[in-house]
Amino acid sequence: MSEVDVIVGELEARFDDLSYGHVRAWKDAAPGRLAIGCLPVFAPREVLWAAGALPVFVRGAGDRIDTVRGDAFFQSYICHLPRSSLELGLLGHLDALDGMMFPNTCDVIRNLSGIWQDAFPQHFVRFIDPPQTGERASATGYFRAELEDIFHELCTRSGRDPDPAHLAAATADYRVARQAARRLALARLEAPWNLPADEVYLLRRAGDAMPPRDWAALVDRYLAAAAERGRRAEDRIRVCVVGAFCEQPPRALLRAAERAGCYIVDDDLTMQLDADAIEPTGEPDDADPMAALVRAWLAGGRPSAVRYDEAGRAGRALADRVRATGADGVIFAAPSFCDPALLDQPRLTGVLDAAGIPYMAFKYAENTGQFQSIREQAGTFADSVKLWGAA
């Protein structure tokens, strides 16, 4: 078995371990360690990590369990992620976690935070509502108070001293992880035939629940092994996938899209570390690392459907990204009933139309088992882009 197969095997095992055995093992290795579940798409990773808590992203259960009890909480016209996330909790799969954090991604996740409070009264449950205002001064004070509160609360639970030095160290750790995320993204851009979307995805999902430096090392191990593959480029189009930032499509769907004639060179699946807006930089980090974290959020990052698009630049930013990644087109892949992703689509496609960038769109649910029509759609799209490109 090649090294890359070994790594992918490990990644699959992690992915399939719905009960987060590796998180439990990490916690057991030292006293006081905590693990905090984080719903998509934003978590103040550095703050959690500095308090001795591993951020563990809970992104539903995909197609790996049947949701039975979770369905009893939500009507048919609500997306799938909150059901399977609840199911995981109700089945005890999240027992390794010491609490859950719910960002204001949308009203579904917002309301799920309330259900969680009722369903798991023993959990630390925290709702976090990062600033959306364009007014920086008021946002700074408010957000800082929020983050400080989380830091102190978690430090109390983990028994750590809430020392800013921990924040500085955590910031440095996540900087290493972000650099690795960028290396991964770049390597895929250069040779997507060596880095199938499904594998890159598994690697990023592993990063959802790993100490940041361990994950960075894993990325480098994978990149070295994947480079050895020496595969040749096939006649496929290059696409960016947009809209899959929260509820995740089944892995088979990613495979189906690639096999239908596409290379996914960029996506917002899981909102990558290098793109989810928080990257503290600047001199004063060490003196006041919390201020740097707040500044990083307010400075923004890649526009996303779950953050106020203050400058109205989401469409242009997407078109720029398509050009920068050398993509031939865009696949809009949004979860059914996802207001943020679906409401964004028309204004994004408007810009793509104007820029002459082709796109296709489909909806999915995390547990969908039917890929035939999506495969056909992606195949037709790839063919037409090739024809159009040659014309």
């Binding site: 009893a72 909480f73 939500f74 009507q75 016209y77 609500i78 909150p82 719910f102 204001n104 991604t105 949308c106 009203d107 579904v108 917002r110 309301n111 799920l112 935070s113 309330g114 259900i115 409070q117 009722d118 369903a119 925290r126 709702f127 976090i128 509502d129 600033p131 959306q132 205002t133 364009g134 007014e135 001064a137 008021s138 946002a139 004070g141 408010y142 108070a145 929020e146 459907a305 779950v306 106020y308 698009d309 203050e310 109205g312 989401a314 949004a334 059914s336 009933f337 996802c338 207001d339 943020p340 679906l342 409401l343 964004d344 689509q345 028309p346 204004r347 496609t349 408007g350 909806k363």
Partner: protein
């Protein structure tokens, strides 16, 4: 709605609304700046202090639906690429804009000089305004109102909203109007707001009596119209609520029931609490499903989306900006789910209701996500079984008369059977003024 029997105050309100849309139609000619904003957490007193004309896209959507025009608008938006899965209020508004922005009364709506996004209790509002902003190259002010995730308003949340009012909203209003902010004018508005709020709260509390003189959901949506929109803070609103209160006082004294589409309800058989917005496309039919069975809404949560007056909130002229912040933060859909369950349970108990109905709408994740859980929680807190029905706000495709009627009838039969098996409930003998939620 032409066949609906109306209370005199309803006629007064109709005039107010016609006057409002007429004013909007003349706004540009009169060089009056126009601000588009939303109902929950609206800052109408502040807007009035700057003499701007507010436009509420949700009100246009619901008015269009009541006039059976929303279907065409929604289809227009869907043809333009909007998903059938998303909030139909948004699509109705966008479709109306695509068709020339002619308002529900047939008069053209003026374009905005300012989009004031007060983002209260619903994330979709933010997406909605991003879409509107594409169409209008105008100033935008964003007020981020944090959600009460932990079930309370913290001093930091309040301070954050006040600071945004001071640093973002007021300066933008000064810019588009060319006027300086005058806190005294804001206070004057709030004095009148408070008066109208007192009267409205009294009216809602009157439903504690048996029989209830009002229907707090189907009638209630009329009652909240002026105060949730552009009239709060005006003398017209004070007059309207005084008139409404006088009418309700009269019915209370006469032990008369509410006015329904078919006239006064003679015999109150069921007292229900309602959660969720109504269906607007078949509003009369929806109401009749209940009134035909003698079921009266004695309280509702929808009538609290634009202010929780019956739970005691009042604008406070002594602390105007803080009070605006508290208003935004405390609107019903900005409450955590456990708090929403507590509000519902309080109402079921406080209004001596036989049951409660959750009307879940497909469009609205803000209201609907988690309502099945809410149902069980309220049942747990009250020991009273709830009924669950589904449709939509302004998309008639999701309103199924037969299905809703069957469900409601079976639910009411179950309540009747339950009542027959229990001791007769005692009617509360308190006057409305003596009872505070």
């Amino acid at each position: 709605m032409s066949n609906v029997r109306k209370e005199p105050s309803m006629e007064a309100q109709k005039q107010m609304l016609a006057g409002y849309f007429g004013e909007l139609a003349r706004a540009k000619e009169e060089r009056r700046p126009v601000v588009y904003t939303f109902v929950p957490g609206n800052l109408v007193e502040l807007l009035a202090a700057f003499d701007v004309a507010p436009v509420y896209p949700e009100v246009n959507a619901l008015q269009s639906a009541m006039r059976q025009r929303s279907g065409g608008f929604i289809r227009e938006a869907e043809r333009a690429g909007h998903s059938e899965d998303v909030c139909s209020y948004v699509k109705c508004d966008l479709g109306m804009m695509m068709k020339g922005n002619v308002g529900p009364t047939g008069e053209a709506l003026p374009p905005p000089d300012l989009l004031l996004l007060s983002f209260t209790g619903c994330f979709t509002f933010m997406k909605w305004f991003e879409l509107l902003r594409e169409q209008y190259k105008c100033e935008v002010a964003m007020l981020h109102v944090p959600y009460q995730g932990a079930g309370e308003v913290t001093p930091e949340m309040r301070a954050y909203v006040v600071e945004q009012l001071e640093r973002e909203v007021i300066p933008k209003l000064e810019k588009v109007t060319g006027k300086k902010f005058d806190p005294d004018r804001l206070r004057e508005q709030m004095v009148r707001s408070r008066k109208a709020e007192e009267d409205l709260a009294w009216v809602f509390r009157a439903a504690r009596q048996r029989p209830s003189p009002i229907d707090a959901y189907f009638g209630g949506v009329y009652y909240i119209g002026p105060i949730f929109t552009s009239f709060r803070g005006s003398q017209a609103a004070c007059d309207y609520y005084a008139q409404l209160r006088a009418e309700v006082e009269e019915r209370l004294a006469a032990k008369a029931g509410p006015i329904t589409p078919d006239g006064p309800l003679e015999h109150e058989k069921f007292r229900l609490v309602f959660e969720g917005p109504p269906n607007w496309t078949s509003f009369r039919d929806f109401w009749k499903v209940f009134s035909d069975e003698g079921a009266v809404a004695v309280a509702s949560t929808y009538t609290q989306v634009g202010g929780t007056y019956e739970r005691g909130f009042r604008h406070d002229p002594e602390r105007p900006l803080e009070s605006l912040a508290d208003y935004c933060l405390s609107c019903y859909t900005n409450l955590s789910l456990p708090n929403r369950a507590a509000v519902l349970a309080d109402m079921v108990k406080g209004y001596d209701a036989d049951g409660f109905i959750i009307h879940s709408v497909k469009s609205c994740n803000s209201f609907s996500a988690g309502q099945l859980h809410l149902l069980r929680e309220v049942e747990k807190l009250t020991g009273v079984p709830g009924g669950f029905i589904e449709s939509d706000l302004v998309d008639a495709r999701y309103y199924g008369h037969a299905n809703i009627k069957n469900r409601v009838e079976s639910y009411l039969q179950m309540l009747a059977a339950r009542r027959a098996g229990a001791a007769a409930p005692g009617a509360p003998a308190l006057a409305p003024e003596e009872v505070r939620p």
